[in-house]
Amino acid sequence: MTLHPKISRCADPQLVNDWHSVADMATLATKRIHQTRLLGVPVRLEVHTNRQPTAQRMDLGIAIDSVEKYGFLWLCLGTPQRPPPEIPEARETDRHCVTGGSIALNVSGLRTVENFLDMGHFPFIHTDWLGVEPHTEVPPYKVEITAENEVLATECTFFQPVASPTAKGGFMVEYVYRILRPYTVCLYKSNPVQTSRMDSIYLFVQPVDEENCVAHPFLCYLKDGIDAPTVRWFMQLIFAQDKPILENQLPKRLPLDPRAETPIRADASSICYRRWLRDQNISYGAIPSAI
């Protein structure tokens, strides 16, 4: 099997030895062979009669580690150094914790993570849902790298005409963004009914190769006033709006050189994310920085 010349194998040990979500288990029929790619490597998946998955690297013909978690199939190409991300709210019984419909994107997964952090595009891309002109201002917010080595953006606020499927009318919504791993990001958003609690959306991004990814959303919404199909429908609507924009980004990989693009104050979280990637030498899906 030959690889496209632009698509190299992954040389970042942190990524090779980590878990990546590669499929919504519900889409994998029992006793069928499925194929996907992870970090440029073709992978064969099989779900057995007891719903236990197995996986194989097709390039080397060897079995690799697989596990089911949060309704997704997770793989590790190398030697796992830690379990998949821990999500405490997934155990709360008053939440719908559902997979949100996986979506393939012809762009680096790092660009997809960065887009997920970005409030500035809401009025333009998610018009009438997550934002609406003329309410375009991104108020200042805080960004830090935590003791757990995660990127955390807090006190993020943005005006939304429809904050969620249950919300009526526009109001300022509060968000917290958290980047757990290079290809894993989540947001917490104030719940319109139980205002002291937050809904959460996790995005497990599968780096298919450097310029292709599959975004696997995992949603933990409070059940109050909303059903699971509506939660999924809203997520799919939002992602369908992002896809054509993301696929028109040039270059497709994320440049880590701070001079390559033009960040503004509203991009503080993305600036921090790019720097954090650079500082831990993540190169897969990125254009490394010369400085």
């Binding site: 333009f124 003329p134 040039l250 001079r259 033009t262």
Partner: protein
């Protein structure tokens, strides 16, 4: 590898690819372009990336004056490709360095021509010198330009006058690497055609043919059909041949990083030229009396493209008599071929207005500064109210035209002495529904009107005021009384009429340059800095325009300007170095 080819002009689109407010995706030697025609006819050929996050501008929105990126709504001006607005930060004027890469464009023979780094002019083609040339449809071919050219020189076609015939002979008149001239003759009929090959990428091209003569009306469609059919057959032949050859790798054009501010300078502080420089030379292309006692001037550049401006921006004009005066640009969005200013004749002035009225004539050359914007316009208001008094219309006209073009809710209240005093009536007439004239009112009547205009403040409304000092004061006072919060009230004074007591002396500490200087009585901070070799950008130098602002890190300022709002003055965080002084013995400044 393509350097030689990059110097040559190539067609990148057909004129018909640029219909009204469309954006076209062009490509040459692997380089993508966003190609769009503004309403004034200008054809823009730009790097196909928004500077912010690299989204293709060919999927952007052409509003006739600016190109708006889909992703975050950044706006780029016609001609300059400079960024004019960043919606995420509506209160800030974008730094002038945020400017996209532009490429030259020439429209000729029904084609749009460009090049990455052209050397010389686009040569005129003798056989196409008539006015009746007839461009054919472009034919995209999945094969390298060289291979296409090899086939094209043998292209056989019928002359337009004998389009149904089959006995024409074609003759190659001349050929080069990228074009060939052919003549087809059938009996008494003959047609000359020139074919250009646009190298799109290593393995992709477009054939663009132009006939020297436009066929008779009833023959246009048969002629187009004839060439479409034959060129399609030629394309299939070339593609067949190419498929048996080794496939070249696509060209990889270098994406140059923008010259924008680098981290951590991600704020909007525009690195303005130091001091009071006037690097631009402009010619007065038109001077006219736009109202009683108000002369208007169109200024066109004689030193290259005029820089990008935003509504609210002003320029310094250096006059023949040595004076320097500030004038607001009145231009609407994308009007980048000229700056238009207006000057009121003030008999009592220091001579600036008299010089502009009396001495400066059409054809004269003036030195001007680059535009500076200390009066930026928010475009995120649910309703914008403009209050203009007399010549104070100038910055507000630019603002109002901008909102009008985008269809944003606004009203422009224009207070003048009489109909004859209304400046730019022809422009105001085009947006009559947004303009309310208030004629010949006493100060009391004006105040009454203003109370009516400002009576129902709601959040996300914004007020912009410019006019004579007393009227401006009255407007600010009424807005305050009626509950307008200070950040919603934006104003610009023509001049500072405050009496400035400059008898104090104090010390300034420059935090970044690690210097300590003494400001003597009778000297300003700005002058003291200048004498010690530190050139801050400045413009009016009388505390009105806001150009020479600096941040205060320590110490208590004594404000003498009319630029800062009362709240800003109380907070003591910034001061105007041209007039303001210190109450404390020492100021620590962020310079």
């Amino acid at each position: 590898m393509n350097e030689a080819a990059q110097r040559i002009w190539h067609p990148i689109a057909s004129s018909t690819d640029l219909p009204f407010r469309h954006t076209y995706h062009g490509q040459l030697l692997g380089r993508e372009f966003a190609v769009w025609r503004a309403d004034d006819g200008y054809v823009n050929v730009w790097e196909n990336r928004c500077l912010h996050r690299g989204v293709r501008l060919s999927i952007g929105i052409n509003d006739g004056t600016e190109l708006k990126c889909q992703y975050h709504g950044w706006r780029y001006a016609n001609r300059t490709a400079g960024c004019t607005y960043i919606p995420a930060h509506p209160a800030d004027a974008p730094a002038r360095t945020i400017c996209n890469q532009t490429y030259p464009a020439i429209e000729r023979y029904g084609l749009i021509w460009s090049a990455e780094a052209p050397v010389g002019e686009l040569a005129y083609i003798e056989v196409l010198s008539g006015s009746a040339v007839f461009p054919l449809r472009g034919i995209a071919v999945n094969a390298p330009a060289k291979l296409v050219m090899q086939k094209l020189v043998t292209y056989q076609f019928q002359p337009s006058g004998q389009i149904k015939g089959q006995t024409a002979t074609s003759q190659l008149l001349s050929s080069s690497d990228d074009s060939c001239h052919l003549a087809a003759t059938d009996g008494a009929h003959s047609t000359t055609a020139v074919f250009f090959v646009q190298p799109v990428d290593a393995g992709r091209s477009v054939i663009r043919g132009v006939l020297a003569e436009t066929p008779a009306d009833d023959l246009k469609r048969p002629v187009l059909y004839h060439h479409n059919q034959l060129l399609t057959a030629l394309r299939e032949q070339v593609e067949q041949e190419f498929s048996t050859l080794p496939q070249p790798a696509p060209f990889a054009p270098v994406i140059a990083p923008p010259s924008a501010p680098t981290l951590p300078d991600i704020d909007f502080d525009s690195p303005s030229p130091r001091g009071r420089s006037a690097p631009l030379r402009v010619q007065v292309s038109k001077k006219w009396m736009t109202a009683l006692d108000i002369a208007a001037f169109d200024l066109v550049s004689i030193t290259g493209q005029l820089p990008t401006y935003q509504p609210g921006a002003h320029i310094d004009v250096h006059m023949p008599n040595g004076l320097i005066r500030q004038y607001s640009l009145t231009n609407g969005p994308g009007e980048t071929d000229k700056y238009t200013i207006a000057v009121k004749r003030e008999a009592a002035s220091g001579g600036g207005s008299l010089c502009m009225h009396g001495q400066v004539r059409e054809g004269d050359v003036l030195a001007i500064s680059e535009p500076r914007n200390n009066f930026p316009l928010r475009r995120d208001a649910i309703q914008t109210v403009f209050v203009a008094g007399g010549i104070g219309i100038t910055p507000l006209l630019a603002m109002s035209r901008t909102l009008h073009h985008s269809g944003l809710p606004q009203t422009l209240h224009y207070f003048t002495q009489s109909r004859d005093h209304i400046a730019f009536p022809e422009i105001l007439g085009t947006m009559a529904a947004t303009v309310q004239h208030h004629l010949n009112l006493s100060p009391e009547e004006t105040a009454g009107q203003l109370r009516g205009i400002l009576e129902s403040y709601k959040p996300a409304m914004h007020l912009y005021v410019c006019g004579p000092g007393p009227m401006l004061e009255a407007t600010r006072k009424i807005a305050d009384d009626l509950g307008w919060p200070e950040p919603a009230v934006h104003f610009e004074y023509f001049k500072n009429t405050n009496e400035i007591d400059d008898s104090s002396q104090f010390e300034i500490n420059l935090a970044r340059s690690a210097m300590t200087l003494q400001v003597a009585a009778g000297k300003t901070i700005l002058e003291t800095l200048r004498e010690n070799g530190i050139e801050l950008p400045s413009s009016c130098e009388q505390g009105a325009c806001g150009t020479c602002v600096v941040d205060i890190l320590e110490g208590e300022p004594e404000h003498h300007d009319v630029f800062l709002s009362d709240g800003e003055k109380q907070s003591g965080k910034r001061l105007m170095t041209c007039v303001s002084r210190a109450k404390s013995n020492r100021l620590v400044l962020d310079i």
